[in-house]
Amino acid sequence: MRTLPAVTAALVLLATGCEKKSATPAAPAPAAPASVAPGGDSILVGEIFSLTGGQATFGISSRNGIEMAVKEANAAGGVKGKKLETRVYDDQGKPEEAANAATRLVNQDHVAVILGEVASTNSIAMANVAQPARVPMITPTSTNPKVTEIGDYIFRVCFIDPFQGFVMARFARDNLKLNKVAVLRDLKSDYSTGLTDVFTRKFTEMGGKIVAVETYNLGDSDFRGQLTAIKRANPDGIYVPGYYSEVGVIARQARELGLTVPLMGGDGWDSDKLFELGGSAVEGHYFSNHYSSDDPAPRVQKFVAAYKAAYGRVPDALATLAYDAAGVAIDAMRRAPDLSGKSLRDAIAQTKDYPGVAGVITLDDRRNAVKPAVVLKVGKDKNYEYVTTINP
């Protein structure tokens, strides 16, 4: 018992002896010069995606998009006389693996730039490695606002979650004229939570009413309990900001239970798998997305044709944005005086009116791309019909 007073004293000391930390602590020394690839004759581009797990199509599409951009750049003579090379790691959808892979890319492979992740959780994990090491990172499709807040080396070429929620709320209210909407969100994904929050706020602000909020877990395949509960609330529409892997099944079961109101969602729906899983039940539902492959603009059609030739399918938004992210990175490499992290970062930050396939990209001072979103309607022949564009 003699130790007790001592412990108490120490605790008191701790409690009273605390002060606010002054400013930010001294910046850690930047890691080994990150820009120069070991071989010297090539520039390494690091990629981290989830290539296994339930949302693997996201990772694979993204990888394809980057691969295409890199091939095109190499065909055009590379950058500063050097060839580009990619180094891809699979994080299995887990943040700690993403951090692990990022550490490897930064410290072992010494990549010039990191491109990656779809899921925001994983992007945040990577960004926390890239930022202190002063290696620029561009995420093609992580829409959570927190990602780029991590530091001035972290960029994105897509819009952010609040914007998607906002777009769908406006669309539901202004275009579909819905009054009562139910929400079915995925508990396991931060993405779904983010979209739900903004959608709910905006939709209520505009005079609509959220009549039911139900949840599910990524990987579930039975949603009848939730849908039955939603049916009781008798909504005009259901907001399902989830991933295609569940949305397809949800659409089927909603139809089965006699729910005929439109479903609405976000860019997580964008995959060929949606049609396979949902069959005819997904037809006529709406989701917000980054671009439409129906866009007649020549640079879109050129990309779509080239992608189709290489991978045998229409590029989804993931592939397109990854292509754009790689494009922004390569463009910045060309403009930067050298390939050190600092110069490259500055060059990326100055990106202005870059003609991306999924819209013109200008990075704002919070390193986010300011872009409009499109609303697509799921069509009959496994295609998406362009409905409208909503600007920020």
Partner: protein, 346 residues
């Protein structure tokens, strides 16, 4: 070391390790990837050694260790986040950071220990495979509860936890855990645990309060799992519920089983090997396989890890169910060298 005066024996190894690791810290501090990797290895070693206290020494089969790791990671991480902008006055910030890290480790561990107590009290009445399933259920429940709490960031988890862990800190924790596990094993308490493993009825008849001992073993094991979790939170930039599924529990079980149930050194070796194996394979593929094929194979390494763990478990059980080390210890091989090996002392 045998000639060391008794009062010093308790602390001497710790001081020695402190010096040694301090020196190493200076050397490896500049190798970030090495530090990162060794941190992952260290955390896995702590998890394996602590699980071994329950699964190996006490013979109770728990497969829900990740749940306790989650408690430690979240509670420790949350505390660190709260203290992020504070520093203790009068000492350099670096020292203050380390003290805060220690505090969050202690609190994270304690929280996990409490969780272990709450879980252990009812479930340790069950035996064998039933206990295994119930621990699995509890592990999952802990994760579900944590992921439903707003303070823990729900699905997104916690990010921005100060990354203050260092090579020295992590390996100091590893050292302490191993030391404690060894000392427990060599003490009257450890012998009681082993007795429970060997024959619960006989142990009870010999005056061992088996329930209390099992719960205590469970609490200590959970405490260290919590410490491992809190350490984890201090070098992985974001923790979220997905990191603590029962897949993680099975990973740790694989390490303990592969090393040999009841062998501390076996757990250590298995944890190190199994954690580094994917890394080694990856570099190997990258080096040897040429650019195209090698890189493709290197990508697959992560995919094949889980099925390989599965196959490993099956093969081990069929060919060497007692694990690579059985219940023997590495240090039994060099009793003199280690000063006071278990058998040398007797």
């Amino acid at each position: 070391m045998a000639s060391l005066p008794a009062p010093l024996r308790g602390v001497f190894p710790v001081l020695l390790a402190l010096l040694l690791l301090g020196a190493l810290q200076v050397v490896v501090g500049q190798l970030p990837f090495f530090v990162y990797l060794s941190s992952v290895v260290g955390v896995n070693v702590i998890l394996a050694v602590s699980l071994n206290i329950v699964n190996g020494m006490t013979g109770q089969f728990s497969i829900g260790h990740a749940g306790f790791m989650a408690v430690g990671a979240y509670v420790g991480g949350k505390l660190a986040l709260e203290m992020k902008d504070l520093a203790i006055s009068g000492i350099p910030h670096g020292v203050s950071d380390q003290l805060q890290l220690l505090a969050s480790l202690a609190v994270g561990g304690a929280a996990a220990g409490v969780a272990g107590f709450l879980v252990g009290l009812p479930s340790l009445r069950l035996r064998g495979d039933y206990l295994a399933i119930v621990t699995l259920g509890f592990g999952e429940m802990i994760r579900v509860i944590v992921s439903n709490l707003e303070v823990f960031g729900r699905a997104l988890g916690l990010s921005g936890i100060p990354q203050t862990s260092s090579f020295m800190m992590i390996w100091m924790c590893v050292f302490v855990v191993v030391l404690v596990a060894r000392r427990i094993q060599d003490s009257a308490h450890g012998r009681s645990l082993l007795a429970i493993r060997e024959d619960e009825v006989a142990a009870e008849a010999m005056g061992v309060d088996t329930t209390a001992y099992k719960v205590r073993a469970f609490v200590i094991s959970s405490f260290f799992a919590g410490v491992a979790g809190a350490l984890f939170a201090h070098f992985v930039p974001i923790i979220n519920p997905g990191s603590f599924t029962f897949v993680k529990s099975i990973e740790v079980v694989t390490m303990v089983v592969a090393g040999g149930l009841g062998s501390i050194s076996g757990s250590i070796v298995a944890a190190v090997v199994l954690t580094l194996l994917p890394e080694v394979l990856r570099s190997l593929f990258l080096q040897v396989g040429g650019l195209e094929g090698g890189a493709a194979l290197a990508q697959k390494v992560d995919q094949i890890r889980m099925p390989v763990y599965g196959i490993l478990l099956v093969i081990l059980m069929l060919s060497r169910p007692q694990g690579v080390f059985g219940s023997r210890e590495l240090w039994d091989a060099f009793p003199r060298w280690w000063g006071r090996g278990r058998r040398a002392e007797e």
